[in-house]
């Protein structure tokens, strides 16, 4: 499905990218050439641009770009390309000179640094202005008339203005304004502006009158959302129910990504505010990531799987299968997201719609790969799917109401935040709807990680084809995308299936309710101590035998149990039991089972009677769905006879050392609490084992045999029996530890998903 979407995207892009990408028809020089040309221009204004820090930013005159798409034959409008780069040379604080070039390298702008002292002073103010005019007008100089004088931005100053007489059919005004003082030029600018009859708001330089309206809606959504976010954040901070650690990790990752981008210098300009300061905006962005993740991941209680692979990526299982699937889906769908604006422009349904060449900085970036990392874009997507949607979902229980409210918000949100299609208002709204639909598809069938991957990789894809269509090197992009895709596919086929079994309950470290858990942790650790205290302090001492036992709950409290009994006839009872389910309910039934076993065995030494009685009581009190499995053995120490029953429990392992034989002891028997007396009794079989010197009997719970490693293999009975065979010369404690370390080694760092209980009985060995 995702692959089909991707192919569709590739198809659309192949058909329509060069046709509808505005920058396709603009000549572009390289970054190095642009800087060299700018240096020359600065030199001519008398500024020595060596030893200074160079930054390059790009802007697109969208109105002009749009006009050019509709009037490709207007030579007048082609005098200067709509894509221009500003090259600033900063030698010290406030000593920043700026040169503007169009994408072909034609000078269009000059601004002198503060307290400028030109090393090439002109004879007079007029002569300085004249020289600047010649530089900016180039070969078009003869078609300009002027100069006339007009008021500059600062009313104290006057500018010299030259105007080009436009041909009759052209709507574009070409003019050059120069601000000179005494003998030097402070500011010079050539602008091509489109007359207002083109239905465009030329004052703001915006494409269409409706963009400000969409912008107001967009920012209202954003600020209302932020307000709600902050209120929830504060409330939950007080209640300590936030997912702080996960949010800190996410914020840390965001900070690292931004730091790399800043250090690389490529994307730095995008992260600066209007005053050129980047500290504030970066701090705000990292803070926003923290708030969104802290609140969003807890808010999404009902849609928690949506956060899971993201949490796993930053958590203990970065190699999870679901992570791979999400990554692959995101990468595969990205060409389609990039293609949406071109589809809108090319499909012919929306007259006069066009693609806006919004971000062409990649063409002049020293490190194009990093320049395509759109951090604010990812933040918007995280805000919508990670926070706004779960919030609305919580507030609005009815599905149709949710759709009715979330859909228009999403459409406006995506139309405005992408801002890539212009034309009649229906065109960008349709583009917004299509983007929302694509993101929504990934969110519904995959998760948040897929959505974020789509956003990030679509930046890469757009950057790659933009650069490629201008003859730039796209290999880093191809390599990165392929590597990402391979990694994702590899993960999705051979990753660890965290979803196996009871994912959310089984892997508590991924629980998003970390803070809530912390609150409960104190109480749980009391419960855990109480429960562990219920297990025997130490195995009984039986002359001629050694015994070792342990129970490791997977959660704070568990449903596993082992116990030793002293029976009225002097025999010793050894029992292991496992309650269905996990956590607190299982722990309660575990306690009940332990009590029943202890009290019933005070009155009877008959193995079958004891187990039948426990079953009768359990069946009376358990809810219908709960059952308990148990393996119970009564040992006659002197006669070396062990009587065993297996009530729905895993079979015991019997190692007959002297015979070199290992077997599973599995007499028939139903789980406890499943069915009442008669049928339970007829099914339950007792098996008698005649033990020999050196024999070992191992009781265990399914947490041992079903322990699962990253490769989805279970430890299994075979491995357990092999582990037992290797311990023939050890006493019970040695055997016990050796088995557990074999399980741990097998798991290779994966957290056990179930309680693990192990009891070993060894005959003899001077025990």
């Amino acid at each position: 499905m995702a692959a089909a979407a991707g192919s569709l995207g590739v198809l659309i892009l192949t058909l329509w990218f060069t046709k509808y990408w505005p920058a396709s028809s603009w000549p572009v020089v390289s970054r190095e050439q642009a800087i060299e040309k700018a240096r020359n221009v600065a030199q001519q204004f008398g500024f020595k641009a060596t030893n200074s820090q160079v930054t390059l930013t790009t802007t697109v005159a969208k109105v002009l770009a749009y006009y050019l798409q509709r009037h490709p034959a207007d030579e007048n409008a082609r005098a200067v390309s709509p894509l221009s780069e500003r090259i600033s040379f900063a030698s010290a604080k406030n000593k920043k000179a700026e040169v503007g070039l169009d994408s072909a390298g034609v000078p269009v702008y000059w601004r002198a640094p503060k307290d400028f002292d030109s090393n090439r002073p002109a004879a007079s103010e007029m002569e300085a202005a004249q020289k600047a005019f010649e530089l900016l007008s180039g070969r078009d100089a003869s078609s300009f008339t002027g100069p006339s004088k007009s008021m500059a931005d600062d009313p104290k100053d006057e500018e010299y203005v030259w105007k080009r007489t436009p041909p009759a059919q052209s709507q574009v005004r070409d003019q050059i304004k120069i601000l000179a003082e005494n003998t030097q030029v402070l500011k010079a600018q050539r602008t091509l502006s489109v007359a207002s009859s083109e239905e465009m708001d030329t004052d703001t330089g915006d494409d269409h009158a409706y963009w400000p309206i969409l912008g107001v809606i967009f920012w209202t959504i954003c600020s209302l959302g932020s307000l709600v976010l902050i209120v929830i954040l504060i409330l939950w901070l007080v209640r300590r129910s936030l997912n702080v650690r996960f949010a800190l990790t996410a914020a840390g990752v965001a900070a690292a990504v931004i730091a790399v981008t800043l250090l690389a210098g490529a994307n730095a300009e995008k992260l600066r505010d209007d005053d050129g300061d980047w500290g504030g905006p970066v701090f705000l962005m990292v803070l926003a990531v923290f708030c969104l993740v802290a609140v969003g991941s807890v808010l999404s209680k009902e849609t928690r799987p949506k956060w899971m692979s993201l949490e796993q990526l930053f958590g203990l299982a970065p190699l999870a299968k679901a992570t791979g699937e999400s990554l692959a889906a995101g990468v595969l769908c990205s060409p389609l997201l990039v293609a949406i604006p071109f589809l809108i422009a090319g499909c012919g349904l929306f007259a006069q719609s066009a693609v806006v060449a919004q971000d062409v900085g990649v063409l002049f970036s020293p490190r194009p790969l990093l320049d395509t990392l759109d951090i604010p874009g990812a933040l918007y997507v995280l805000g919508f799917f990670g926070f706004a949607l779960p919030l609305l979902r919580r507030m609005l229980r009815r599905r149709w109401l949710l759709l009715l409210i979330a859909l228009p918000i999403g459409v406006v949100f995506f139309a405005y935040s992408a801002r890539v299609v212009t034309g009649p208002i229906i065109a960008p709204l349709t583009a917004g709807f299509c983007s929302l639909a694509l993101f929504g598809f990934l969110y519904k069938y995959f998760d948040l990680l897929a959505v974020l991957t789509l956003q990030v990789t679509s930046g890469l894809v757009l950057g790659m084809i933009s650069l490629g269509s201008k003859g730039g090197s796209v290999w880093p992009f191809v390599v990165l995308l392929l590597a990402l895709m391979m990694a994702a596919l590899w993960l999705s086929t051979s990753g660890q299936a965290v979803a196996e079994g009871d994912p959310r309950a089984a892997i508590p470290d991924f629980s998003s309710f970390r803070a809530e858990r912390e609150k409960l942790q104190a109480e749980f650790s009391v419960a855990r101590r109480a429960q562990q205290g219920m297990l025997p302090q130490a195995p009984p001492t039986i002359p001629g035998y050694s015994i070792a036992a342990s129970c490791t709950p997977s959660l704070e409290v568990g449903g596993d149990l082992y116990d030793f009994l002293t029976l009225p006839d002097g025999r010793i009872g050894i029992g292991v039991a496992d309650v269905s389910g996990k956590g607190v309910p299982a722990a309660l039934y575990m306690t009940l089972t332990k009590g029943l076993l202890a009290s019933v065995s005070e009155d009877s030494s008959q193995l079958k009677t004891v187990v039948e009685e426990v079953n009768r009581h359990l069946h009376g009190v358990t809810r219908k769905k709960v059952f308990v499995t148990m393996a119970l053995g009564f040992l006659d120490a002197e006669k070396r006879v062990l009587q065993c029953v297996r009530a729905g429990h895993n079979p015991m392992v019997w190692r007959q050392t002297s015979k070199g034989k290992t077997s599973l002891v599995a007499p028939a028997g139903l789980g406890l609490g499943i069915t009442a007396g008669r049928i339970f009794g007829t099914q339950l079989k007792v098996e008698e084992m005649e033990l020999d010197e050196g024999d070992a009997v191992v009781f265990y719970s399914d947490g041992i045999t079903e322990a699962m490693n990253r490769g989805l293999e279970q430890f299994g009975e075979e491995r357990l029996m092999e582990a037992v065979e290797k311990t023939d010369q050890m006493d019970a404690a040695g055997t016990h530890d050796s088995i557990l370390s074999a399980v741990r080694e097998f798991l290779g760092g994966v957290h056990p998903q179930d309680d693990m209980t192990l009891v070993v009985l060894r005959v003899g060995m001077r025990g």
């Binding site: 799987p305 899971m308 679901a322 699937e325 069938y445 995959f446 998760d447 965290v498 979803a499 196996e500 079994g501 009871d502 994912p503 959310r504 309950a505 269905s580 389910g581 996990k582 219908k624 769905k625 709960v626 059952f627 499995t629 009530a647 729905g648 429990h649 895993n650 079979p651 028939a668 028997g669 139903l670 789980g671 499943i674 069915t675 049928i679 099914q683």
Partner: protein, 122 residues
Amino acid sequence: MANPFSIHKSTEEGLSVLALEGYLDAHTAPEFEKTVQAEFQAGRKQMVVECSKLTYISSAGLGVFMSFIEEIREAGGDIKICGLTPKVYQVFDILGFSALFDILPDLPATVRRFQEAPVKET
């Protein structure tokens, strides 16, 4: 697409067939439970649970089979199970379910068993 689980309902010679697919665990068990309950309340008391596409069953999943069986048998119906993969069969078997339920290789065999013994003798 974490934890996929689905139930496909159909009828076969008047029996209600519930074909399970995917993971039946603590999170998906309620869906199965609701389905069985709905069938029972609609008067379809003879149910076949077809498990050839069931890849995993946890104790909570097993609990669903137990929770209705007495009620259904008292009403003259039964739940019979067929198509278990060896891995899932082992889980049923260890718990002793083979003594409590009719477990059959495939659907036709289950249909025949319903004709021979509508309620399992226990």
